[in-house]
């Protein structure tokens, strides 16, 4: 998608010019080699902080440093990536890999993105497998790593639900799915799909409801 078409499209929409960020003199999008693609996504895969940590590296590398992607386009791709049913960062790796190096590029970017986490995960799991048979482990785990893990899950739930915990339609839906799982013991898959369908009614864009 040509980057210079964006400005005109925005004007014909009648959007006020002041919601556009100030632009530097237009440079043509810079190409990115396969080697650089691998390097960028490896760096992203080493980022801590989950999706947002990765996004920060991609923004830094693709938008600010190399100017290979415009800011608006970066945000638009991020928005599209959010509705793809997989990790948002997986979707972005596919999008940028394809854009800079075709289908082979998607394999390069995805491999680089998962490599650091995969290597570390396998190593740590192997260690667990080795010490699992020890006598002291079943006594020690329930007072160390396991309660910490449970705390991490609670924190993740709170973070995911940041906008849920106030009087809102969201809170009602979250409470309903909690009750469905904790009290009625319904299938989580069923509850998720029901939540999605309820969402199309509860969270429909305003202009459609008129």
């Amino acid at each position: 998608m040509p980057a210079d078409g964006d400005g005109q499209a925005a004007d014909s929409d009648g959007r006020p010019p002041d919601d556009q960020p100030a632009r530097r003199p237009n440079r043509p999008p810079q190409p990115i080699s396969r080697r650089a693609l691998f390097g960028i996504f490896l760096k992203a895969g080493l980022a801590f902080g989950g999706g947002l940590g990765i996004l920060a590296v991609l923004e830094q590398e693709l938008v600010t440093r190399r100017q290979a992607v415009g800011r608006e386009e970066f945000l638009r791709l991020y928005g599209l990536g959010r509705i793809v049913p997989s990790g948002t960062m997986t979707a972005l790796a596919v999008a940028y890999g394809y854009r800079f190096a075709g289908l082979a590029g998607t394999v390069i970017s995805l491999t680089a993105l998962v490599l650091p986490a995969l290597v570390l995960t396998v190593a740590l799991t192997a260690v667990y497998g080795l010490v699992r048979q020890q006598q002291w482990l079943p006594e020690l785990l329930p007072v160390t790593i396991l309660p910490a893990a449970l705390a991490f899950i609670v924190v993740a739930g709170l973070r995911l639900g940041r906008e849920v915990f106030r009087p809102s339609r969201e809170l009602v839906l979250a409470a309903a799915s909690f009750a469905g799982a904790a009290v009625l013991h319904l299938s989580p898959v069923l509850l998720l799909l029901a939540g999605g369908v309820a969402g199309t009614v509860l969270f429909r864009p305003k202009e459609d409801q008129a």
Binding site: I83, S86, P116, L124, L160, A181
Partner: protein, 175 residues
């Protein structure tokens, strides 16, 4: 449980939860721990802890589960399975201009996410019941929650301090 079955399960749950790492926990617990019994709650929690202390995407912990059940091929195959839906990005990019009708998609996604929040807390209650069995484990849980949520410490530090606290209590014979 065969590797193919495991990949199918992981693929489906990842797609359903929109790649959200923690949101897969209740689904995996219901299927792999409660229904099939191929994984223990301890193993699931250990896998999730790894995800918190390693860099990268939050859903890579399925590789730990793949490794526990099927070794290295399991880790590689489950990792591939959760990357695959990302390719839906390509048709989405191509069809972006004519996607007026898909305005319902963000609403559907939001409904899924909100329902996930409820499910995560339901899973926390059920996992907590089986895990927090003694005074020490409850105390360590409270300490970890304080460090992670209120003090916003790095997960690695939270894990290290929790392990020290718990090990100390165990050495003293409290646990």
């Amino acid at each position: 449980m065969s590797l193919l079955e495991l990949c199918a399960v992981v693929f489906t749950y990842n797609a359903l939860t929109f790649g959200n790492g923690p949101a897969m926990i209740p689904l995996l617990q219901a299927n792999l721990v409660d229904r099939r019994g191929v994984l223990s709650t301890d193993q699931l929690l250990y896998a999730f802890t790894i995800a918190r202390v390693t860099p990268g995407q939050a859903n890579t912990y399925v590789a730990a589960i793949g490794y526990m059940l099927h070794g290295l091929p399991g880790a590689l195959a489950t990792t591939a399975a959760i990357q695959l839906p990302g390719y839906l990005m390509l048709p989405l990019l191509w069809g972006y201009q004519r996607l007026g009708a898909v305005r319902l998609v963000p609403a559907f996604t939001r409904g899924l996410t909100v329902a996930s929040v409820g499910l995560i807390f339901a899973a926390t209650v059920s996992i907590g019941r089986s895990t927090l069995t003694g005074v020490v484990s409850v105390a360590v849980f409270a300490a970890a929650l304080t460090m992670a949520q209120l003090l916003k410490w790095n997960p690695l530090v939270v894990l290290a301090v929790s392990t020290l606290l718990g090990t100390g209590a165990w050495v003293l014979g409290w646990a």
